[in-house]
Symmetry: C2
Subunit: 203 residues, 2 copies
């Protein structure tokens, strides 16, 4: 149940919808469940947002807006490579500690409706890695780091930050780590990931 005191019904609905959609997905979510969580009537959902699809789209839109840009901004900033990688890992891990369901939610949508995803939530975004790729190539040319394909480096950075959150349920199960243990594990990774990457590529 979302805090019933919190301002408008509209706001409560969005909070509830986010919680339900992110954990159950579009197909698995129930409007009744969202209504209960928001502490309001099911009919109100349709009053504020005409359909389940429209409500879902709103949530997905917000999710995409969180998932990418903050971090693309770091990649395209003007920090030196090493600091950039540190900053990237720290930002991403912190964000995902706050929003652990976000990756699976977005990745499921992209996997289920690739065309729709591209059209609706990518659209006019330009390729976000060209700036970073240039920087990597110049570092390679200067012999500061080993020759490495920039895109391989980017997907490595993303993988190391995001995957642990996606696999958390299996990971805690197989290793016997509990929830606080996982949090500590990920906080450690904020420094471990950059160290691992820099050790891998520095000359």
């Amino acid at each position: 149940m979302v805090d019933p005191e919190s301002k408008t019904a509209q706001r409560r609905i969005l909070t509830a919808a986010k919680r339900v959609f992110l954990s159950k997905g579009m197909a698995g979510a129930r409007m009744q469940d969202i209504a209960d969580t928001a502490g309001i009537n099911k009919a109100m959902l349709h009053y504020y947002f005409r359909s389940k699809q429209k409500l879902f789209d709103k949530i997905m839109s917000d999710a995409v807006a969180n998932f990418f840009p903050r971090v693309v901004g770091i990649l395209n900033g003007d920090l030196p490579l090493a600091e950039k990688i540190q900053c990237f890992a720290a930002e991403y891990v912190d964000m995902l500690l706050e929003n652990p369901y976000l990756p699976l939610f977005v990745l499921n949508e992209a996997s289920l409706h690739p065309a729709r995803f591209a059209k609706r939530w990518w659209k006019d975004r330009e390729s976000p890695f060209t700036e970073f790729a240039r920087q990597v190539e110049s570092e390679v040319a200067a012999r500061n780091i080993k020759p490495v394909h920039p895109l391989q480096l980017v997907i490595n950075m993303l993988s190391l930050c995001i995957f642990p959150f996606i696999s958390r349920p299996i990971w805690t199960q197989t290793t016997g780590i509990d929830e606080e243990g996982f949090r500590a594990f990920m906080l450690l990774r904020k420094t471990e990931i950059p160290r691992f990457i820099m050790d891998a590529i520095k000359n």
Copy 2:
């Protein structure tokens, strides 16, 4: 449509169910869709498998059996560390090139029903990483590799192999890579991942 000539109806149903469940998930899959894909009547599904849930469980059971053990076998084998990492990446990438939907399918189930997942599909499996952890620690003690937490190394290996497949739709979208390009990209990673990891940890 599954090859209508292929042996028993039972077999065709399983093939069709795998295809539909893996791409749509439990909640999004439709029995009618599975029946059409198998080229048989919807009632036959219930004749062979009493319910949607039972059919899903069968598919999930097979999926879990593919997702883990082959690779846990490598981790617990008696290869030297470097070869083990090479072998691990090659095996996993090859397997996922054949079954690209497998990770998201299994991870969704684990995320949606953690308790059920643990009970039903984990059960009597022992912790699969202790053997490998011992090996890593002995390599660290021998000063062959840098001090590294074994579990951090394991999750790194898994992340680097699996995540690119999960994020493929977004990745191809943002980079402009097409499907053959992605395949080439992943085949490259079969050697890039072990090189990256070894560079990161070797003394």
